[in-house]
């Protein structure tokens, strides 16, 4: 997980959850936003992992064809 957006959205989700206790009447809002941020964090993290895996596979196939 080295796409910095994943860390950013994880931090944003934690910030939203941190203030949740101050506004219990808006729990539905804070929880929805926190879940949305966690989905973004997961999406950016996995998208980055898939891209890296594809790049490694491509490099390996280039190495094999080279040798």
């Amino acid at each position: 997980m080295n796409d910095r957006r994943a860390y950013f959205f994880l931090a944003a989700a934690l910030a939203v959850l941190a203030v949740q206790g101050l506004v219990p009447q808006y729990r539905w809002l804070t929880l929805s936003v926190a879940v949305l941020y966690l989905v973004f964090a997961l999406a950016f993290a996995t998208a980055n992992l898939s891209a890296r895996r594809a790049s490694i596979k491509k490099r390996e196939s280039l190495d094999r064809s080279g040798s």
């Binding site: 796409d3 910095r4 957006r5 950013f8 944003a12 910030a15 939203v16 941190a18 203030v19 101050l22 506004v23 808006y26 809002l29 804070t30 936003v33 949305l36 941020y37 973004f40």
Partner: protein
């Protein structure tokens, strides 16, 4: 009405004028930068929607400022005046330091600080302050989430579109509506802070009962002041928020303004005073983050974070000093 109350009302309207003057750039930045409207027409467009916001929003935010920050017994004309002076002084200080602080939070901090110096911490209404404090963090983060979500939806819907000039033309037109919606949200939330101050003064001097609603003349004068501020100041502020944070395309402008407008509409409907500048900042960061992290100028976003932390305590301290001065001179 006593002369002191009239002075405070005039200072509050001047504060509202400077709010329009300063924040107009937030709503016209993208329409001007994408040449949908000339700066002059963009300012007239924003000012018009600032003014007509009173037809759409009720006065919940004004009631929160007047009744949910400090107990009414502690809100004398002197305390309100000191709070207002503290907020203005804090805004000038942070403007000089280049910190993008919120005048709304300065106002809340100012009133709280001025009242605490006179009556101790018991005069504060913790529930109201907790909601305002939580939304200092939540409004930009909600704006950011909606901004990113709208950008992803736009990208998903139009990713097969080959005719980019046609697409951009469509979004340029869309910006007229999104800028109008943001100006409505700005007028609706920010003008009400001034209405709240005036309502508190009128209650303090006994012109209105404690449970009174905002009179129409107060609503109209606050909206007129903010619209005039936008009209006179907007086009002078060339360095726009849009370009400071990230370079926006027409579709990004539509997404950012719509996201910020949705957040402001929600806050106004719930009676929560939020920073319009911080909300649009969050939305613009959300649009920028859909591309890559380096598309966002994090130094500017980081300065907003400092502003979150310091505004309410900073304005409270400055207003506390003014409160002591007003008490000594009265």
């Amino acid at each position: 009405m006593e002369i002191g109350a009239i002075i405070v009302i005039l200072v509050a309207l001047a504060f509202d004028f400077t709010n329009g003057f300063h924040d107009a750039a937030n709503s016209i930045a993208t329409v001007v930068s994408t040449r949908v409207l000339s700066p002059r027409y963009a300012v007239i467009w924003a000012a018009f929607f600032n003014f007509v916001a009173f037809l759409i929003f009720s006065t919940h935010v004004a009631n929160t400022i007047a009744k949910d920050v400090v107990v009414q017994e502690a809100l004398t004309v002197g305390v309100i005046f000191a709070g207002l002076l503290g907020a203005i002084a804090w805004n000038l200080l942070t403007f000089w330091l280049g910190l993008p602080t919120s005048s709304s939070h300065a106002l809340v901090g100012g009133m709280a600080g001025a009242a605490v110096v006179r009556g101790g911490f018991d005069v504060l209404i913790s529930e109201g302050l907790a909601t305002i404090g939580a939304f200092i963090v939540l409004s930009p983060l909600v704006g950011l989430a909606i901004g990113l979500l709208l950008t992803l939806i736009i990208q998903w819907v139009f990713h097969r579109e080959k005719n980019l000039p046609k697409l951009n033309k469509g979004f340029r037109r869309g910006q007229l509506f999104s800028a109008a919606a943001f100006s409505l949200g700005h007028g609706g939330n920010d003008a009400q802070k001034t209405m709240g101050i005036i309502l508190a003064v009128l209650i303090a001097v006994g012109s209105l009962p404690a449970d009174a609603e905002v009179p129409l003349w107060v609503v109209l004068s606050a909206h007129t002041a903010i619209a005039l501020g936008t009209l006179f100041g907007g086009w002078r502020i060339v360095k726009t928020m849009g370009f400071k944070l990230t370079k926006l395309q027409p579709s990004g402008g539509v997404a950012a303004e719509s996201a910020a407008a949705a957040t402001l509409f929600f806050a106004s409907a719930q009676g929560i005073p939020v920073s319009t500048t911080h909300t649009i900042t969050g939305a613009i960061v959300g649009v920028g983050a859909s591309r890559r992290m380096s598309a966002v100028r994090w130094r500017v976003a980081g300065r907003v974070l400092w502003a979150w932390i310091f505004t309410i305590p900073g304005a409270a301290i400055v207003a506390g000093i003014f409160s002591l001065l007003v008490e000594a001179l009265a």
